[in-house]
Subunit: 457 residues, 3 copies
């Protein structure tokens, strides 16, 4: 027999978790609240509970509403597999596949929200509590939330499974919260993976959040949180990691893969860090600092931008051209230090045609410090890809490993727009590659091989 604060959705006497795990979990939460009623009894009283979800396919027809602290929902498998490859594989091929759906401890989100009801309406898990204190230490771990299908976006493409739209959200935290943990999860085919408002000391670690419209979105305002060691990759319309009005975020050691309109989009974020991440994108704007982001550190990251190699997705992009900046910075006193940035793209794909792509574009703000970034820009020799759609893996890896047949590509390594001054640009491009008013900013060009010697002392 389980302890009274340990629940197993398959053993709970109310509801059928295979038909609607949402109703079962809501009933469990009601049970917890009916048993833990006193806020201060013998120095305790409301320790919360753990709800276990064994491996299995569970439909979720009713939204789970969480308003108790110290609730942990845990499975035994993040269960990710690529639904994107599957839906772009001809049906007759997929019919022979070993399996076609994600697995593990998997919830199938059956909620079909009206778009007018907003993101919360389409959430599998909706956390919200009024009053004090902030809801604390809710934990999601090691299970899978699968949105199943994307739907038509009304465009002419008639390509519903590639729209990244379905109005579904995996986890939506709608009120101020403290010390939450989201770890080891698998989130897939959701328009929004995780949305958290007003977080304090939130941990989003070691998850697999991919093939979602947007992956991780921190909204409202918040502080002192960590997004680390995740595999993340949004659709071409959305952001892999988004935050607004947060301070003290640490985004570290994530492997962020395409597509993602942006790998990271910060709006009004300050005093935060992006360190030790690997970012891979198919479009410009892979890192955007908007709305006066200040005093942030971007260091020791690997940025790679190349062209979409997989046929089914080559018709989509994020709409930005190569003058936007691979990194675009609006803000002051930021530090961009010791990053490697690779851009490799056939000159025929540069937009507008014939321009020099901009790598780091400082569009406004002052006193940014851009030092010791190594920018490698190459032009791919065009090649035809006639691989079948199901061969996504070999197509992608083949593209990634293509380092022969490259020639140098001329780029603007750093562009500082006219309104931005007092920036310091060091060893991140030579005199010809850095475009700015060198009387209003400070500059030391990367020494050019063959023109050397003067500086050794």
């Amino acid at each position: 027999m389980l302890s009274e604060n340990c629940y197993d959705v398959t053993k709970y006497p109310v509801g059928n978790p295979y038909d609607d795990i949402g109703a079962v979990i809501n009933s469990i939460i009601a049970d917890i609240k009916s048993r833990q009623t006193v806020s201060d009894q013998n120095d305790g009283g409301k320790p919360g509970a753990v709800i276990y979800v064994p491996p299995g396919d569970y439909r979720l027809a009713t939204q789970v509403v969480i308003d108790v602290s110290y609730l942990k929902i845990v499975g035994s498998g993040h269960g990710f597999t690529s639904s994107s490859i599957r839906f772009n594989t001809p049906a007759h091929e997929a019919a022979r596949w070993h399996e076609v759906w994600p697995g593990g401890s998997r919830m199938l989100v059956d909620i079909s929200p009206d778009a007018a009801d907003g993101e919360a309406a389409g959430a599998a898990f909706y956390v919200k509590r009024t009053g004090n204190p902030r809801i604390s230490s809710v934990e999601f771990a090691d299970f899978c939330i699968d949105g199943l299908h994307f739907i038509s976006d009304g465009s002419e493409q008639n390509d519903p499974e590639n729209t990244y739209k379905n109005g579904k959200t995996g986890i939506y935290v709608g009120s101020a919260n403290d010390s939450f943990r989201i770890t080891g999860m698998g989130l897939i085919y959701l328009e929004h993976g995780v949305i958290v408002y007003d977080a304090d000391a939130l941990a989003i670690d070691n998850n697999f959040i991919a093939e979602c419209g947007n992956c991780i979105e921190l909204k409202g305002m918040g502080q002192a949180s960590r997004i680390a060691n995740n595999f993340v990759g949004a659709g071409y319309r959305g952001h892999s990691i988004y935050a607004e009005n947060y301070g003290g975020i640490l985004v570290s050691s994530n492997n962020v893969f395409p597509r993602g309109a942006s790998s990271v989009y910060f709006s009004g974020v300050v005093r935060s860090s992006l360190t030790g991440n690997r970012f891979h994108s198919f479009y410009p704007g892979m890192l955007v600092f908007a709305a006066n982001c200040c005093e942030n550190l971007v260091s020791s990251n690997h940025f790679l931008r190349d062209r979409e190699p997989w046929a089914p997705m080559q018709k989509y992009d994020n709409g930005l051209d190569d003058l936007f900046g691979l990194l675009q910075i609006d803000g002051s006193n930021n530090s961009i230090i010791a990053n490697h940035i690779s851009e490799t793209i056939g000159t025929e794909y540069v937009k507008p045609a014939g321009v020099k792509p901009v790598i780091i574009n400082v569009v406004s703000g002052i006193s940014n410090y851009i030092a010791n970034n190594h920018i490698v820009a190459t032009a791919e020799i065009s090649h035809t890809n006639d691989a079948p759609n199901s061969a996504c893996f070999s197509t992608q890896v083949g593209a990634l490993l293509s380092i022969s047949n490259l020639k140098e590509l001329e780029v603007t390594a750093v562009l500082v727009q006219k309104g931005s001054v007092r920036n310091i640009v060091l060893d991140s491009g030579n005199d010809e590659q850095v475009e700015m008013d060198k009387t209003k900013n400070a500059f030391r060009g990367t020494p050019v091989p063959g023109k050397n010697g003067e500086l050794s002392i």
Copy 2:
């Protein structure tokens, strides 16, 4: 039925875990030892056990003494919430709170040690074994240790819950040990969170150790350990991360928040790394290398120091003035590279009044390498804070996000004391901001915007 090496404290026939989980766990350990008696039987013999602690409130009146290897104690919830906010909220407000105590799998430490008996006497978990081999692979995971209250420190303040004193320690490892793991824990309101002597290959990862007098302390001597991905924040008297006489420590991707007399204090630590952390402090001395720390790497960290914004704590600090150095370095051959350092403080709060705060203070040792650090110093325009004490979160985030109304603050970016020579300081401050004997050290100033051009080649 559980396997014989799997225990659940709520199912064990001896003792009552709600009254004294310490006695129950000690009885379980005795049972393990009575069953696993032969050190070498069929190539095994002492595999250890796992003890599960379901969510609940468990008093711990008897110290747990661990002297067997391969023991794992695991719960289902770190259960952190802020007791500090709660104890600084008027009782009539807190009476309406949903809950007032931490939760999850929570142990309430009832031990009331005599200070004269030392730190081990007040430990909830005391690990010690004589003889060989070193005790190995003890694991603590996913539960909460709560010291409940701080007590009067005898001062005139009469502010007992804010003293960070109670003689209690969460986990105390008193003898040489190998391959321990402390992960996913919540430690709160303890004078010492974790103290480990003589560690080898210790992992302290993904914990939430806050509102403790000191959080993580590595003592004695040791090597090759990791402190990563934690949320940590000590009281104004103690250290968030402390180590002495260790080599090869990796402190990485932690989000270390105030207060903490120091975010990191190293004494005689060598050949170790602080990389990719986010440090936030309210006082000088946020990083201290004392007693000849050598060959350490400090890189890709974000340091922020501002002023305590929360009224109940504004009367406390760590006693250091702004000439101490935000980072103080005693030692040789250290590397401080590619960090972002922000200091923002109203000039009226600078101590001694009128001085230029020192950011990096090299007090002794030789041949340190300080390069590519971006130091942003600003003066906050003073503002009155009339928020209620319960509004800690909005007060903190409001302060953190304040990036308008800032003016530049003059600081000494790097100060190398007279006795220290052969240091190399590059691009970490301009000629006026770096104070040292430039004939005995090496220096290249950060180029100054508007005085530029000469160096581009």
Copy 3:
């Protein structure tokens, strides 16, 4: 009663897990396959399962063959202890030890493969599946795989337990795979810890893989994987971390200890990152980029090379001399930025005698960017070590903490071989320490203390 997709090896009705856990797990896998037969039923059908391994000693006589997705095998203890110290301790001492074997949820690998059958034949776990899709989301967590003994390598040493040879592999993934996770494991005394072919989005995190011939090997080709937060340390013959033909790997925050012929060996790896690691080695060649590794980032790492201090291992090394390079780079467009590199070795141990050791050796390729590395080279004053073999810990820590009695050692900080051009070397050694054709590469020497002043502007 457990849910049908939750298995416990000690409760399963077929076989005896203590005699052969391999046969039991294979029977469980057969049961899963017999129950989950339809690939697309009600939007699901093959969610997989979890197999729990309680703490205990389990012999593994039959290789486990995994060909189902979403299988998680999980224990309650990685159970590492040093078998190397134990086997180098005199038997009469070890006879008094508390325990002599690793523990936790421990599998004793009894497979004795014929070397001619290859690495897969000696694997405890062999994952392989033909057809589509790639096998996905298999997870190994929190248990121990122990190879028990090494065996004679036929050499004259007659030192079988120190050969790092036994033909055994812990986990061998032989076909293309997606979103696998290997976390919290303890792997010991295996010739190969983990070998994974053709991985996509593989996570190898928080493991303890040591005293293995080789620890982590990524083979075939693959992408977008992460090796993070591990303790790793191979034998003198093998590699701690090896990869070939991968792109987009993130190797981050690992604590890699000796020995290891290489800490990291990359062959034809591109667009990958090594950031925030702590590497410790006893030999040259601790980082090797071979076979045209391109566009990789090596930053914020701490490298330490000193001499083997432990008597039983002092007769072994990796056969390389000090001209090989502590880091050897074959490839183009790599970035080596903001690392700390310490080498400390008595001059009498330098090979060939009298040479200046090479720290970073660029042997071929073009346009590498080597900047802001702090290289600390010191000569240890020789001392005799008369500690008993069982005192491995104090011997190692004593050596690690030895920072007095050091004198400066002359080294070639950076050597660029003749065939390699257009490299950029900045602030990583002074003019005398960097050896390359300065007309074909670019160079700015680290300013030399006492010769300074010209560059401050």
